[in-house]
């Protein structure tokens, strides 16, 4: 009984957050991964007004919820989301993930985490109801949530704007034919979503949270995603039910689970609900995640071997020029390059979005360090095999998921592994020693990493040219068509996940060897997301993209040192990653895509201009039209 109010209040907050997510997703068709970060940002703004600048709290709340949040939602829709409505799911995903990172690091930059920030105590005191202690704040949250639910229902059934919103959900084109502007309606849904995210964020900080913390707040609002998935991303009533279940489960876990189990399981409960809901709740429309990059010509074996040799040579030469910190960044970039390569195979070629690649890298580092003395070839083999096996298992579990559901499931997997494996095995803040195979000097090890990168790149290009690559591309294009041709969609997907996880494991092991020690936070879900975004910026469907991503990653600390610190921006690289990902809406091919476009343009200029409308033969036109 004592835990009932806590559970209900948590449920209410999750419901607020989740309904905002559902409203924007339904109306604009974009699942906003940045929803949680928007809530966090609004909560911080509220704190800044109410505590930082001493504005009376009701006024601060009104300003944030009725002015800032709606304007922010409208601006995001206009500047970013509007160009994404016809983009592939994966680009939408990367852009909203970029929004998440951008807001997170922006908030980190504005409100330095070194100070403890306490939310204003707006309705102090408590009372007893049937022997249970209830705070007045609990009552406020409940009242606000019920009011929000009633208003939302009325909005969607009674007002013209609300009915139009449902009409746009039903049939976007028909809504335009009936004179409703789909763009303006979608914008309204972002305004509403931003408002609800802000409301959820502010409600969290008011009562349960003792201090404001960027990451915690974001995660708390993200917990609402689980509720949204229970509602199948379309049913608001089921969403509220899901939110209540999660809130109550969390509250009662605090009350009844033994302490040692609780510290492990407590924060993961919503994520477990999310994972289970993803697996067992039937989904409606399933779309395949495709990166909108153009189809590129295949790279032949001689070219890829030549490129690989040049790469290793280049790494050897560059490593001779570098020393100290720059050398460390260089090696780190190379090791991460291998993880980027794994994503080129899985997400770029295969269209399977994985936001858990650093988890596999972490497993690689872990088994490299733990098995066969920590520096042997056996360890390196284990660093490939064990993560590969883990990847195969994950693939079999999440097999039927696609698009955002798959991405959510991998995020959930990464988050669970953070809390249940890495934090436990390495200890929170703990470290694990990882050795190097065969060589010891910095320069020799850089060359070793470069060789592994080159071998993986050549292998991945060979896979792409071969039968497996064609199968992967076919599955990416249409699973239904593949299945109807008698191809094993399952086998292809599992294989892609397995190989990618193995390659990521290798990267992790070399990364560990490079640093000598690893700690859990280097493999957290947030790093996995960052890695996914960086490779998307580099260019997801080309090996060259992995190279650019590695370069960007290596240069990150240098940029920070020379640009971020003088400007007083603590995590400039994170901000840049967020910004870059957000800009992908215009250019899904990333940096590699730009360069390839430029190359093709040059080639076309040298040979002849591309055919224009007038040059299409009459015969072709007639055949298509008739």
């Amino acid at each position: 009984m004592a835990y009932l109010p806590v559970g209900i209040v948590l449920g209410c907050i999750y419901a607020l957050s989740a309904s905002g997510l559902v409203v924007t997703y339904l109306t604009s068709g974009i699942f906003n991964f940045g929803h949680g970060a928007m809530g966090m940002f609004m909560a911080f703004l509220y704190w800044q007004l109410a505590v930082g600048w001493g504005v009376p709290w009701p006024l601060a709340m009104l300003i944030v919820l009725l002015v800032v949040a709606p304007l922010f939602g409208a601006a995001i829709e206009r500047s970013l989301m509007r160009q994404l409505y016809n983009a592939s799911l994966a680009v939408q995903l990367v852009v909203t993930l970029g929004l998440l990172l951008f807001l997170l690091y922006l908030a980190d930059g504005i409100w330095a985490p070194t100070i403890t920030r306490r939310p204003p105590d707006i309705v102090p005191g408590n009372f007893h109801l049937f022997g249970v202690s209830v705070t007045w704040y609990d009552v406020l949250v409940l009242a606000v949530s019920v009011a929000a639910a009633l208003l939302l229902t009325a909005f969607f059934t009674r007002t013209r704007a609300g009915i139009t919103m449902r009409a746009v959900v039903d049939d976007r084109e028909l809504a335009a034919r009936a004179g409703a502007s789909p763009d303006r309606t979608a914008q309204l849904s972002w305004v509403l979503g931003s408002f609800l995210a802000g409301l959820a964020g502010i409600m969290i900080v008011g009562g349960r949270l003792q201090q404001l913390d960027q990451l915690n707040l974001t995660i708390l609002v993200i917990y609402g995603y689980a509720a949204a998935v229970v509602g199948r991303l379309r049913n608001l009533r089921l969403t509220v039910v899901g939110a209540m279940i999660i809130g109550l489960a969390q509250a009662y876990a605090v009350g009844y689970l033994p302490v040692n189990l609780l510290t492990n399981l407590g924060p993961v409960i919503p994520i477990i609900v999310l994972f289970v809901a993803l697996l067992f709740i039937p989904h409606g429309r399933l779309a395949t995640a495709r990166f909108g990059g153009k189809t590129r010509r295949l790279t032949g074996l001689p070219l890829s071997l030549g490129g690989a040799a040049a790469f290793v040579l280049g790494a050897w030469v560059v490593s001779g020029l570098l020393s100290g910190g720059d050398m460390i960044y260089f090696g780190r970039g190379l090791a991460f390059g291998i993880v980027f390569l794994s994503l080129v195979l899985l997400t770029g070629y295969g269209g399977q979005v994985s936001a858990a690649q650093m988890t596999f890298a972490g497993l690689g580092a872990f088994f490299m360090g733990k098995l066969f003395g920590g520096d042997s070839i056996g360890g390196l083999v284990a660093a490939f095999v064990v993560p590969a096996a883990a990847g195969a298992v994950l693939a079999m579990i999440v097999l039927r998921l696609r698009g955002i559901y798959l991405a959510l499931a991998t995020v959930a997997f990464a988050y669970m592994m953070d809390n249940l494996f890495f934090n436990k095995q390495l200890g929170v803040g703990g470290i694990l020693k990882v050795g190097r195979f065969a060589v010891d000097s910095q320069r020799a090890f850089v060359v070793e990493i470069a060789v592994v990168f080159a071998v993986c790149a050549v292998a991945i290009l060979a896979l792409k040219r071969g039968e497996f690559g064609r199968r992967l591309a076919a599955v990416n294009d249409s699973e239904v068509a593949c299945a109807s041709l008698g191809m094993s969609v399952t086998g292809t997907k599992v294989m892609a996940f397995t190989l990618a996880a193995g390659v990521a494991g290798l990267g992790g092991a070399l990364f560990g060897g490079w640093q000598h020690v690893v700690s859990p936070n280097e493999f957290s879900w947030l790093v996995s997301l960052t890695v996914l975004l960086i490779i998307a910026i580099g260019g997801l469907n080309t090996v060259a993209g992995a190279f650019f991503a590695a370069l960007f990653f290596a240069l990150g600390p240098v940029i920070q040192q020379h640009l971020g610190d003088p400007l007083g921006i603590p995590n400039l690289q994170g901000l840049l990653v967020g910004l870059g990902a957000v800009s992908l809406g215009r250019n899904p091919g990333g940096i590699a895509g730009y360069l390839a476009d430029a190359g093709e343009w040059l080639r076309a200029r040298r040979s002849h201009a591309p055919p224009t409308q007038e040059q299409v033969p009459e015969e072709v036109r007639v055949r298509v039209a008739g």
Binding site: R160, R166, A167, D170, L174, R177, S181, V616, R621, G626
Partner: protein, 246 residues
């Protein structure tokens, strides 16, 4: 340039006029210079075999496909680059094949969305709709997705009531419906035209459409191959169809 229903009333130009319009999708041109005029208050039947470009023509007139050359005039106004929702507000109601209603909205809610299109009030549109189609009045709280095919077409045609006067573009009324119901719907088309509405119907099911039309045209391979009075067009019809089939 302003474009609203008042202008539609005053102007004397044809309700819809296409002059040497070329349009298509990407590099593929579908309409190779089509000219056509629909006079106000008349029913115009556009006939032709599959893939003749009828739907593309309709989508060009309703603003969903931008012409690459030529002119689209609605009530005498040049409308080449006008957004579909703006055209809809000016009185061009287009009903596409098999998707004229919002299935998850009730009948009254559908009408409410339709009133976006014009300056008629929701109450007035509802009254006219239920007056014209009593069956819809009986089912006003039912989800449109649960209506029968004929009832759905009726509901879709209520879009015309939101603007006064209106141009109604209908793609394939007969699609998937029983002949009895098709006859009924064309009876409605005839009545609406008698009330002053301009209607352009695209149809493969030629005889019924011709029986209510004031003028007609036949399309083939992206060109208009015959145009004129319904009885003249009927004569050249078989040639167009058989020619395309070879």
């Amino acid at each position: 340039m302003s474009l609203d229903s008042a202008d539609l009333l005053e102007e004397a130009a044809p309700a819809i006029e296409l002059i040497d319009v070329r349009a298509g999708y990407g590099r593929v041109e579908v309409l190779h210079g089509v000219s056509l005029a629909v006079e106000r208050g008349t029913v115009f039947a556009l006939l032709g075999p599959n893939g003749a470009g009828k739907t593309t023509l309709l989508n060009t007139a309703s603003g969903f496909v931008r012409p690459t050359s030529g002119c689209v005039h609605v009530a005498g106004f040049h409308c080449n680059d006008v957004a579909p929702e703006v055209l809809a507000k000016a009185g061009v109601a287009s009903i596409t094949e098999g998707r004229g209603v919002f299935p998850n909205l009730s009948v009254s809610e559908n009408l409410r969305v339709f009133t976006h299109a014009g300056n008629e009030s929701y109450a007035a549109v509802q009254e006219r709709a239920f007056d014209r189609f009593p069956r819809l009045g009986e089912r006003r709280n039912q989800l449109a997705g649960t209506l029968s095919g004929g009832e759905r077409q009726m509901l879709a045609m209520c879009r015309a009531f939101a603007t006064e006067p209106a141009v109604l573009l209908i793609d394939e009324i007969s699609m998937g419906l029983a002949p009895m119901i098709v006859h009924g719907l064309y009876e409605v088309v005839r009545q609406l035209a008698a009330e002053g509405l301009t209607i352009l119907v695209v149809e493969q099911f030629a005889p019924v459409a011709l029986s209510v039309a004031d003028a007609a045209a036949v399309m083939r391979l992206g060109n208009i191959v015959a145009t004129g009075k319904p009885e003249d067009v009927a004569a050249s019809l078989s040639e167009a169809y058989l020619g395309a089939a070879s």
